[in-house]
């Protein structure tokens, strides 16, 4: 049996195909999200180099910000449930998840069965999310994928507000005009993301190990470093952290099939 998990986020689209809820047949990521060509393109990409067609899929679960706009999905499940499922499958020792995507930051607490015991997510504010890093990348003229590199070159970390993306942008411009190095500002930006994410983690109660990070921001080693320093402990970055939601969706799709 083949199941498809499709995760349409605010800034990227992800898809995973599983065979019998275990074997990864294909995965794809397109770096544009809901309301764009992303959902269509990711569907094309995930079927590109395999011998399956969309009609071969037995069950599809859609998740993410754009989950209700996915045509032909059998069910929509929230991204929090899907990330929890995907992460626990990949890292069975995971008890705390930090998921930072394009528009949302979430902290999820799991029990030893992988069930969600508590979760918190940001309100309607881009501070501490991938969108915040996008804005800062543009202001600092450092490509997103180079921000991790710049972070580790910083001799000191600048202070950047963690309360508002708009205010933080003017703060960064002000610091640039004062002559602070871009590297130190990048590190300050990552600290700002870490502060926001860790406040969500702490609201879940005592932090239980292992702490696993996923979502697009987990691909930024600078952000991961800042979160580790803020939490005062090591965290595990999920393998292929951008697709854990889609993987969880495909796993939940398989469970739905079995329950039929």
């Amino acid at each position: 049996m083949y199941t498809l998990g499709i995760d349409i986020g605010s800034s990227s689209s992800k898809a995973v195909i599983l065979k019998d809820g275990a074997e990864l047949i294909s995965s794809a990521v397109v770096q544009v999200g809901t309301g764009t060509s992303g959902p269509t393109r990711v569907m094309e990409a995930v079927f590109e180099n395999i011998d399956l067609k969309p009609e071969d899929i037995d069950y599809t679960v859609a998740t993410g910000y754009g989950r209700f706009s996915v045509e032909n999905a059998d069910k929509q499940i929230s991204e929090i449930s899907c990330h929890a499922k995907g992460i626990f499958y990949l890292v069975p020792t995971a008890r705390t998840i930090i998921d930072i995507g394009g528009q949302d930051a979430k902290a999820i607490a799991l029990n030893d069965k992988g069930n969600i015991t508590q979760f918190y997510m940001n309100d309607k504010c881009a501070a501490g999310t991938g969108r915040f890093l996008d804005v800062m990348s543009r202001v600092l003229e450092i490509p997103l994928d180079k921000m991790g590199e710049a972070h580790f070159k910083a001799k000191e970390w600048a202070s950047v507000s963690s309360t508002c993306t708009v205010f933080a942008e003017s703060e960064v411009i002000s610091q640039l005009s004062k002559g602070l190095t871009r590297e130190s500002i990048v590190a300050g930006v990552h600290k700002s993301v870490a502060t926001k994410a860790c406040s969500l983690v702490r609201r879940c109660g005592d932090i239980k190990n292992d702490v696993v990070m996923c979502g697009g921001v987990a691909q930024n080693p600078g952000a991961v470093d800042a979160i580790e320093k803020e939490l005062g402990q090591k965290i595990t970055v999920a393998p292929n952290p951008q697709i854990t939601g889609a993987l969880g969706a495909a796993l939940l799709a398989y469970e739905e099939l079995l329950a039929k």
């Binding site: 929230s78 997510m121 940001n122 309607k124």
Partner: protein, 375 residues
Amino acid sequence: MRTVEEIIAELKAIADDPKKAMEDYKKETGKGAVGIMPVYCPEEIVHASGYLPMGMWGAQKKAISKARTYLPPFACSVMQSVMELQLEGVYDNLEAVIFSVPCDTLKCMSQKWHGKAPVITFTHPQNRKIAKDAANVFAREEFKLVKEKLEDILDVRISNRAIKNSIAIYNENRAVCREFSDVAAEYAAVIKPSDRHAVLKARWFMEKSKHTALVKELIAAITATPAPEYKGKKVVVSGILVEPYDVLDIFAENGLAIVADDLAQETRNFRQDVPEDDDPLMALAKAWNEFDGCSLATDANKPKGQMLIDAVNKYGADAVIVCMMKFCDPEEFDYPILIQEFEAAGVRNLQIEIDQESTAFEQVKTRIQTFAEIL
């Protein structure tokens, strides 16, 4: 006999168009309306004058522009939209507006009124639990001032007898609202969260005996058939209000029924009756003294959490959803206490943010859907 849908449609039409409700009242009685700002105004005094007490709970999805001149961005959305509406002249047909001032924003709002109607402001004594007798005397005096100012503005005399009669009418309405809330819980498969809200919101814009009659008719229509089995989950909601309707629809889409509420716009107004007393103003004062479960009514013993836990147990609810009015300091200050009490009692809980101005609900949708998935 009218159907459930027909009666709810009538109540929803009133809840959604207070202006028409006011005009209809004026046509019928020749008298206008007095605005009742949130929260906990002794409306019975207005009712006794023969004028219509009209709740002022802002507007759903109202774009805020002019209000920014007078309010900071961190004033709650109810006050933002009330300010916007008053600047647009929406309240100019009111005869007067009564303000209670139990939070900082209401204090400022009462002093920045830009509508044409005169403002009457009164203070709820917050020492009510530690100096009961003094608080009763103070509240009675405040309510007397409200009565006297209303008499001057409306050019009517409000007798003790009329207030007693209004208290009886209000108590009957409170009883029928409590009964409706219980019936809505029992018939969760029939009454959607948005229906429940519309029925209870309509009472803010209707002469209470008329609301009572309509809700009685509705209860009879609902209970005419046995309650169908409800297969979803049941929750208790707490906060100032739950709006816009979109938020309530998200509850329904995710199989969550509201079986009880602790909202300043709903149950907190009818959870208890006004006690009997020969002096009706003292009766209203005592009602404030005995009132519990709201962050705007000081009680150092903080009974709200236990009241919510009791409601969960009474109605067999699966969880509490705290609908936090964005920028409502008093409610936010009490929230950490609530969480600790919920955790200690093993009550599942979730917080969502309420912003009347909002037009996008993805975060709320994700939170509620996830919560429903893990309940």
